[in-house]
Symmetry: C2
Subunit: 177 residues, 2 copies
DNA sequence: CTAAACTTTCAATAATTTCTGAAAGTTTAT
DNA sequence: ATAAACTTTCAGAAATTATTGAAAGTTTAG
């Protein structure tokens, strides 16, 4: 961690971490791994961030549960080395789908079960609202699922299209129906 | 808060709140406002959730900073009443754009400024990675911006399209080389 | 202007989350 | 089987975040 710009970035990732769904150490550990050209051992990380060995172990576990890092082992060396689990593109997709899983799916499942239980009865206002939220979340997550299954090339094309999506939608509307 | 399903939902929203970027009270207050057919006073909310008056005041302030609720005043009544700031669709858009502002924009700006400072020098690995992250985030937020400017009808069409987006993209590719 | 009816603020406290480091657990080489 | 070289776990300490409630601030009616 010689480069001062790198250091600033790692600290920034640490600060942002809580907004991204993990704690400061996890954010810093992720940064240091992503910015490193070679895989790092837990001791490397512990030393360069000035956090305890145990903390690194927990952060690595968390990052593995997000599928953001992977363990690399070198022959003739007993240490674990950590590296990013794929390209930046892969990591971004992983973050998106993991956050969907943690932030939306539980709510969708609670709403579904509440709505099941009142099915048939005439719904009060709150129930109608639950249905509305449920439908919106389902529409959204369904779309995300679909889009994430696109080939990377198509996904990139979609992103580059930007506002052009509107035009293409019109186009589609004119051709069919 | 008679309805037990409603109560469960409000508690669930409270539990999820920290994953959504606010605290439990803020989550519960939002829920109770969104599920209510009529605007609620701070006292109504304080009583129905069993939290202090001061806490409700801070939660309302936070929710207003997210533009998720608005104050309604009734003539001949000095109390503030809180209601949702628009349709569910509006609220969802608001959450998305506010989270982008809080979770992505600061990082983009840090990356931009770090990259400015090393501009011209031959970049090391970490700098290349910063550039890569910067470009990805910019592509993503630019697309979000564009898409959020679409008319609600177009946006809904896009969501309903789901995986169909892939087909439409191919179509577009065929028509315009 | 004053008092009543509110809302907001903020210092103190409570609750929660994170971090440390020593102990326990695991793996590998011999 | 043993010991060396690791990794993981977890109880307690530290740090952070959330909540309360009383005091200060604001607005409105008369």
């Amino acid at each position: 961690m010689n480069n001062p710009h790198l250091k600033d970035c790692v600290l920034h990732f640490g600060e942002m971490a809580s907004r991204w769904g993990f704690n400061r150490s996890v954010g810093q550990v992720l940064a240091v791994i992503v910015f490193s050209e070679v895989p790092l051992s837990a001791d490397d990380i512990s030393e360069s961030l000035g956090i305890s060995r145990g903390n690194v172990s927990m952060a690595a576990k968390e990052l593995q549960s997000w599928r953001l890092i992977r363990v690399v082992r070198e022959p003739g060396d007993r240490k674990d080395y950590y590296g990013p689990n794929g390209s930046l593109w892969d990591l971004a997709q992983q973050v998106l789908s993991e956050r969907r899983k943690r932030e939306v799916d539980p709510t969708l499942s609670v709403l579904r079960s509440q709505l099941m239980q009142v099915d048939g009865q005439t719904p009060d206002y709150a129930t109608e609202r639950m249905q509305e939220i449920h439908d919106l979340l389902e529409l959204f997550t369904g779309w995300l699922d679909d889009v994430q299954r696109l080939k990377p090339e198509q996904l990139k094309a979609l992103l580059k299209l930007g506002a052009g999506v509107g035009k293409v939608l019109e186009l589609k509307g004119k051709i069919f129906k």
